[in-house]
């Protein structure tokens, strides 16, 4: 239901969303939620720009290894446990034929964590200048805070 008051009647549809993420894979559920939301936004033709810093730079580490689940859990969880990088890769590839997602990893945070040279294909190592441009070019900005 749209508001029909004068403040909202001229609101334009969002075309580009910037997401700022600082959480790694196993700290919080935030990366999963962000990727779920990014997928939905891409389905709607909305471009998504993700700027990952701090622990989030490890999400796109290409050295992530997929483990087999323990035999007792396979009937419940499946054969293996895919790392989050696989989901990111799928979303980046989906952008080839639809709304695109750009994923930029902070170079300083990546260097500090030893993953600068290990970023997966499609993830771009960048700077705060990229964050600035993402924010400036976005219709909506979502900043996900990091909590203990």
């Amino acid at each position: 239901m749209h508001n029909e008051d004068p403040v909202h009647k001229d609101r334009k549809r969002v075309r580009r969303v910037a997401i700022v993420l600082s959480t790694g894979s196993y700290q919080r559920e935030a990366p999963t939620t962000v990727l779920r939301l990014a997928e939905k936004l891409l389905e709607r033709g909305i471009e998504v720009n993700v700027w990952a810093f701090e622990e989030a730079v490890t999400l796109t580490n290409r050295e992530q290894i997929e483990h087999n689940e323990p035999p007792s859990l396979k009937p419940v969880l499946g054969e293996s446990h895919a790392p989050v990088g696989r989901f990111i890769d799928q979303l980046l590839r989906a952008g080839l034929h639809g709304a695109k997602m750009d994923w930029v990893t902070c170079i300083l945070c990546a260097q500090e964590r030893g993953v600068e040279k290990h970023q997966m294909g499609g993830a771009i190592v960048g700077t705060l200048g990229d964050l600035w441009k993402f924010v400036g070019g976005a219709d909506q900005v979502i900043a996900i805070p990091a909590y203990r």
Partner: protein
């Protein structure tokens, strides 16, 4: 007035600072803003029917806030019934609302 999205991913019963969230939403509504409160991840815990914190959602909804809870987060936590004032939702719904545009998005 503005159209605002507040996303709460923390368990409101765990973080002391999160208890100010209902006050924030209430005040924004009272100032005439169109506020959507979207509960996701551990944020849905307080929206379980019977949870003590759930009592505030009913009153919060009466102030005009649209309070939604992500279904995946609820199912992952075994939440089958939501507190009064909280409506079931999902990320498709959230994406639709974001596509329409907000003046500001606050993600906790």
């Amino acid at each position: 007035m503005g159209r605002l999205l507040v996303v709460e991913s923390r368990d409101l019963t765990e973080y002391a600072a999160a208890r100010s969230l209902p006050l924030l939403v209430e005040e924004l509504c009272q100032k005439g803003h169109d506020v959507t409160l979207f509960l996701v991840e551990n944020g849905v815990i307080a929206a379980r029917r019977g949870a003590a914190a759930g009592l505030s959602f009913d009153a919060l909804s009466d102030t005009g806030a649209h309070i939604l809870a992500d279904d995946v987060s609820c199912r992952a936590r075994g939440i089958r019934e939501l507190a009064p004032g909280v409506c079931p939702s999902d990320l498709d719904h959230l994406a639709d609302k974001i596509a329409d545009g907000f003046d500001n998005i606050l993600w906790y």
